[in-house]
């Protein structure tokens, strides 16, 4: 029933969603293992995606990659042009990371210095992120809408124009995705195989004990939140730049920031289970999407089955809900999560 192009877009969505979700969930893991609840992952995703995309939008105005549109109509970009585009996207991804790190200090500073309620700060920051992005967007582009366009950069890895398996799978991917995959591996190793990762976890489990052996708990929390926010920002940039690249992106993380929190809890704050859980969700997301497309191309299938966008869109959330019910009983959150560290409290 699945055609080549369906398989292609399934692979594409699996990779893009998978990388984004893993990065987002790792973001949550890093900050929560250091002891700070990060509800603001959604905000990080929005900020990351926005800063990257608005940079690309600005660059499209400068004519840095002039001739892209005309080249795309033919056989695909030349090596020289493709190198330029790669550099551009690399820069955009790095900008996304830097801006998300700056954003994370809004959370960590008030949580550590002012001992604020972290859930509330996170919720407020989600709103701040949305509104700030919309304002910057309207004043930068002079267009009164909460949308970011970056049309010229659509599908530049086009190998052939037939959009078969390869075309569907890789034409909309950019170097940021590979950076994301690299980041997933690095973050895995950092958390599981380094002294730093162990110390980070110690700060989330028993900050007093960590402090007694000379670890600066608050510094670790700043770093943990920054890494977490950076990962989520990169994840957001990857998802929204790849999936919406051909048209407009409305400034909104569509609740993915909360979905990755569910992934993180499902993965029990451990790297490998989180990885598996994220891939599971990415699959349910992309499969529902592609399945609907595949059904609609098949004349034998009655209309009722595929006009139901609501049904297919609901699958990932329903699965997340059910899996939460089944796995939450044994979930073990970092003990000191959400509690501001008080040196005198020992």
């Amino acid at each position: 029933m699945f055609s080549d192009s369906n398989w292609g877009s399934l692979i594409f969505k699996l990779i893009v969603y998978g990388t984004g979700f893993i990065l987002g969930a790792f973001g949550g893991m890093f900050s929560e293992c250091s002891g700070i609840i990060n509800i603001a992952l959604e905000g990080s995703m929005v900020i990351g995606a926005f800063s990257g995309l608005i940079f690309l939008y600005g660059m499209s105005k400068t004519g840095f990659v002039a001739g892209l549109v005309t080249t795309l109509a033919g056989t695909g970009p030349t090596f020289d042009l493709r190198f330029k585009i790669d550099m551009l996207f690399l820069a955009a991804a790095l900008i996304a990371i830097v801006v998300s790190i700056l954003f994370s200090f809004l959370l960590s500073f008030v949580s550590i210095k002012f001992k604020a309620d972290q859930t509330i700060v996170g919720t407020a920051l989600n709103m701040v992120a949305l509104a700030a992005c919309a304002i910057v967007n309207t004043s930068a582009t002079q267009i009164d809408s909460a949308e970011v366009t970056n049309g010229p950069y659509s599908s530049f890895y086009v190998v052939d124009n037939n959009q078969g398996f390869v075309g569907n799978a890789f034409s909309s991917m950019h170097i940021g995705v590979f950076l994301g995959i690299l980041a997933v591996i690095v973050l895995c190793l950092v958390m599981d195989r380094t002294r730093f990762g162990l110390r980070l976890r110690a700060c989330g489990e028993n900050p007093a004990a960590a402090d007694s052996v000379g670890i600066n708990v608050n510094k670790m929390r700043y770093i943990g939140t920054a890494i977490g926010s950076a990962a989520a920002g990169l994840g957001g940039f990857i998802i929204f730049s790849c999936l919406n690249i051909s048209n407009k992106w409305t400034i909104d993380a569509l609740g993915y920031g909360f979905l990755v929190l569910a992934v993180e809890i499902l993965g029990n704050w451990k790297t490998i289970p989180i990885l598996l859980a994220a891939i599971f969700f990415a699959f349910s997301f992309s499969f529902g999407n592609v399945f609907q497309a595949a059904l609609s191309n098949n004349p034998d299938v009655p209309k009722v089955f595929y006009t139901n966008r609501a049904f297919f869109a609901m699958i990932p959330y329903a699965l997340a809900f059910l899996s939460l019910i089944f796995f939450s009983k044994h979930s073990h959150a970092p003990k000191a999560e959400g509690i501001p560290y008080n040196k005198g409290g020992r």
Binding site: I39, L106, V110, F114, K115, A116, D117, T119, I120, V121, T123, A124, L125, M127, V128, L130, A131, A132, A134, I135, T138, S139, D144, A146, D252, L254, G255, F258, L259, L261, A262, I265, K303, V304, T307, N308, R309, A310, F311, A313, M314, Y317, A318, A320, F321, L324, I325, S328, K329, S331
Partner: protein, 419 residues
């Protein structure tokens, strides 16, 4: 001259001592902290305005604050738009008393809105007449409460994080309503089972009855109902055993457990009541007496109802006090009401701008405990007050004497028991 000076001094001292005594009260301290948060948030908004469009910033700021009071119509709008907001705010606040963050409120609001609309349409189709609005409100309340109950039950029995199950339920309900609208129902308005979206309007008989103030037709009995519910919840929280146990569980779970308070029951009750308030909020959103908002479901849309999330803002600014929700919802709806006029002052001040101001206020409200602490500190080492002779006239007002009193009390009672 000297007499006037003394009089001034006395008056000043009177004001200071008035506030000083108030500062000793917890409720007043949090109220003052909220006011400070709002003021700082608005100030930040003014600074932002100066950055965006310096020439018209002050004019814009004036509009932001005064538009709601400009005429009876605007003021009426502020009132009726704040009505559902205060209910969603109190829903969040009530759950927060137990330390639960009911972010699933959007799902509960959507559910309440949808069930009440369907009931209203069904009653209209069947020609039923008699207190329609009450039945609609009731079913909205029950359906919202059921969703809240589900979240609370899962939290109590399966240890499911209420934030996550709430968010998942928001989306599940959003999409379920999309499905239900197509297949499960035979109300006239769903003509095309394959349509991508549909629009529902609450029939006139099921809308909230207006209070009858000619200049403000939008202000309805809903406002009265909302205020009554809030007062009721305030009484429940502060004057009943149930409320005390709820607050105890919220502030120290282990102490509550030790004292024999059932945690599971409290969680379920808190979420159910919270969901009930949210459900009523959902009904009121779409049941204005004149020109009600239409309920739109679009299968191509990806956005939940924002109205539930407004409740979070309301509650956070009010520092989770049910009565405070009334004031904070009025403030937010005042800011909202200025959106269109603000845009006409300058193009730069668009709708996102007011959103930003609101979110800044909440961001600052998140560390309001800092302000409470500062006020407390100011209260404790108020040098002006200590230096004055009046202290000796009212020894009970000094912080030191208060502490001594508190310390002595248990000793005395112990002594009595000892005898």
């Amino acid at each position: 001259m000297n007499n006037v000076g003394v009089a001034f001094k006395k008056a000043g001292l009177g004001v200071v001592s008035f506030f000083h005594r108030l500062d000793g009260k917890r409720g007043w301290r949090s109220f003052l902290a909220s006011v400070i948060c709002v003021a700082i948030g608005l100030l930040a908004g003014l600074i932002l305005m100066l950055c965006i469009d310096a020439g018209r910033a002050f004019q814009g700021f004036g509009v932001l604050l005064s538009q709601g009071f400009s005429d009876a119509d605007s003021f009426g709008r502020v009132l009726y738009q704040s009505t559902p907001m205060m209910l969603s705010g109190v829903a969040i606040a009530f759950a927060f008393k137990l330390g639960l963050f009911n972010i699933g409120i959007t799902g509960q609001v959507t559910m309440g809105a949808f069930t009440s609309l369907v009931l209203g349409l069904t009653m209209q189709a069947n020609g039923f007449n008699g207190g329609n609005w009450f039945w609609c409100m009731l079913i909205a309340m029950v359906s919202g409460a059921l969703v809240g109950f589900l979240t609370g039950f899962l939290k109590a029995k399966f240890n499911v994080n209420e934030v996550l199950s709430g968010i998942m339920l928001n989306w599940i309900i959003y999409y379920l309503i999309g499905l239900a609208g197509r297949y499960g129902l035979s109300v006239k308005s769903y003509k095309d089972p394959y349509a991508n979206d549909y629009l529902l309007t609450m029939p006139a008989a099921s809308r909230l009855p207006s209070l009858g103030i000619t200049a403000m037709m939008g202000v309805s009995w809903g406002l009265i109902v909302a205020v009554l519910i809030i007062v009721l919840l305030q009484i429940v929280l502060n004057k009943t055993v149930f409320g005390f146990e709820l607050k105890l569980s919220g502030s120290n779970r282990f102490a509550a457990q030790y004292a024999g308070v059932s945690q599971a029951a409290k969680i379920i009750w808190a979420m159910t009541i919270s969901g009930a308030c949210a459900g009523i909020c959902g009904y009121m959103l779409y049941a204005l007496p004149t020109n009600p908002t239409k309920f739109l479901w679009s299968s191509n849309g990806n956005s939940l109802l924002g109205d539930g999330f407004t409740g979070i803002s309301v509650s956070l600014i009010a520092q989770n006090s049910p009565l405070g929700c009334i004031f904070s919802s009025l403030l937010l709806s005042l800011i909202n009401s200025s959106q269109t006029s603000l845009k006409s002052v300058s193009d730069a001040f668009n709708i996102h701008y007011t959103e930003l101001i609101k979110s800044l206020i909440i961001y600052i409200a998140s560390f309001s405990s800092l302000f409470v602490y500062l006020i407390q500190k100011w209260h404790d080492d108020n040098k002006l007050f200590k230096a004055q002779g009046t202290l000796s006239e009212r020894p009970e007002a000094t912080p030191g004497s208060l502490k001594r009193k508190k310390r002595e009390k248990p000793v005395a009672s112990e002594g009595k028991e000892g005898k």
